[in-house]
């Protein structure tokens, strides 16, 4: 009985220590120049290896499928908690990554269950080595991803009336609708500006007090405001995961008393796979746009 408990415990302990150590060494020792890029294999291959390793410890314990799935979820949960404490990841980031981790650890556990039932050691070692090789190759490969998100709203006001609210605006008091903002992700609150000209400084202040420092690079009154982000906050939710590079507001007079306001943002993503994380990045960027642009609309239509 005690031996069973020990083996079950080791199935949690060893994979978690191993995986966190690998990610930590990869990030802080082997690839410090990467600025903490998290490659797809860290989210896919390592959790699968984690599940396989756990299944090795649990191979003689005759766990039911229900128990194996719960244990896999628990293993993923421990990995997430360890990432919070030892890798400095943000809560929202971990919330976003958790479905992937649970699914991949569970996959690994069931791969391991079948592997160790067959007891073909050469095949097993080959499979695990292959996964590990993919991880190594992926870790040392170059990863780049940039994207632009664009949104537009129609405002019943002239570009002249809208412009001053585009350049800077007072605090947004409207409650948040977007669920990630509701659960604690900082949302845009206010924008200040040091001057109404090219080269002027602009600050976008978020609900938690963090500030994006911006520099106006195009100032075409009533038409185009483009700004580069020169300094972004050291928030664990975004640090090393995403770099917002540029923002832009374009105004088009529709000739019928309305104006189309377009908001564009350019960003670099440092977390992979992008087919998953860019869905979130786009969604968050879009909701930042819409919160600001709806506020500009309300102020302009008053």
């Amino acid at each position: 009985m005690k031996a069973s408990v020990d083996k079950e415990f080791l199935g949690f302990l060893v994979p978690n220590i191993l995986i966190i150590s690998i990610i930590g060494i990869n990030r802080f020792v082997l690839q410090p120049q990467s600025g903490g890029i998290l490659v797809f294999s860290e989210f896919i291959i390592l959790p699968i290896l984690m599940g396989i390793l756990a299944a090795w410890y649990w191979r003689d314990l005759k766990f039911s499928s229900k128990k194996l799935i719960w244990n896999s979820i628990l293993n993923g949960f421990f990995a997430i908690v360890l990432s919070f404490f030892f890798l400095g990841e943000g809560t929202i980031c971990l919330l976003i990554v958790s479905p992937l981790i649970f699914a991949f650890v569970t996959t690994g556990t069931f791969i391991g269950k079948v592997m160790f039932k067959k007891n073909k050691q050469t095949l097993n070692i080959s499979f695990v080595s292959l996964l590990f090789a993919v991880f190594v190759v992926d870790s040392i490969s170059d990863h780049r991803y940039e994207n632009m998100v664009s949104d537009e709203v129609i405002i019943k006001a002239s570009p002249e009336k809208i412009w001053k609210h585009v350049v800077a605006f007072n605090k947004i008091n409207k409650p948040n609708n977007y669920w990630l903002f509701k659960v604690g992700m900082p949302s845009p609150m206010q924008t200040t500006v040091s001057g109404y000209k090219n080269g002027a400084g602009r600050k976008c202040i978020f609900s938690n007090g963090y500030t994006f420092d911006e520099k106006i690079v195009t100032y075409e009154e009533n038409k185009n405001l483009t700004f580069d982000i020169v300094n972004q906050p050291k928030d664990p939710e975004i640090m090393g995961h995403i770099d917002i590079e540029r923002g832009q507001f374009l105004l088009y007079n529709n000739g019928d008393g309305t104006t189309t306001l377009i908001g564009n943002s350019w960003y670099k993503l440092h977390v992979f796979p992008t087919w998953y994380y860019d869905l979130w990045a786009e969604s968050i960027t879009r909701n930042v746009h819409l919160r600001v642009m709806e506020h500009i609309k309300n102020l302009s239509e008053e």
């Binding site: 499928s65 229900k66 649970f102 699914a103 996959t107 791969i111």
Partner: protein, 137 residues
């Protein structure tokens, strides 16, 4: 959802591990909405493994595959969908008796499908697997 993935996102099965990961999502969903069915699937696996010469592997399109030696007896996806290959003649007999349904993808082949939705379905699932096993021995 399962039908949508199988029919509309069929190309995804070419991505390594995708089918296994999708099946894991089905397992987690099953754990949350109908955990008792996971116990039934274990019961089926244990029953098949009690027959001489059988073993299990992961099915290439996700789920548990039951084999007799190197030959597949059938496979069980984690949403409770059991797929078994019979001869076309046996398939017609099973369809006529209501013990199986036409395969969810390969309708003209000898494959049959059977959804395990209630505890009573377990008896039929074991019967179908046993028929397939005996045909391969």
């Amino acid at each position: 959802m399962f039908r949508f993935i199988v029919y509309r996102l069929n190309f995804l099965k070419g991505i390594p591990l995708f089918a296994l990961i999708y099946d894991s999502c089905l397992k987690i969903a099953m754990l949350l909405v109908a955990p008792e069915r996971l116990a039934w699937f274990d019961e089926i696996e244990n029953e098949v493994l009690s027959w001489d010469g059988t073993n299990v592997s992961l099915h290439k399109f996700g789920g548990m595959q039951f084999n007799y030696g190197q030959k597949e007896i059938g496979h069980l996806h984690s949403n409770g969908l059991l797929d078994i290959l019979f001869t076309r003649q046996v398939k017609q007999e099973l369809l006529a008796s209501g013990k199986a349904e036409v395969h969810h993808v390969f309708k003209k082949s000898g494959w049959i499908s059977f959804y395990i939705l209630t505890e009573k379905d377990l008896i039929n699932a074991k019967y179908l697997l046993n028929e397939a096993y005996r045909s391969r021995v």
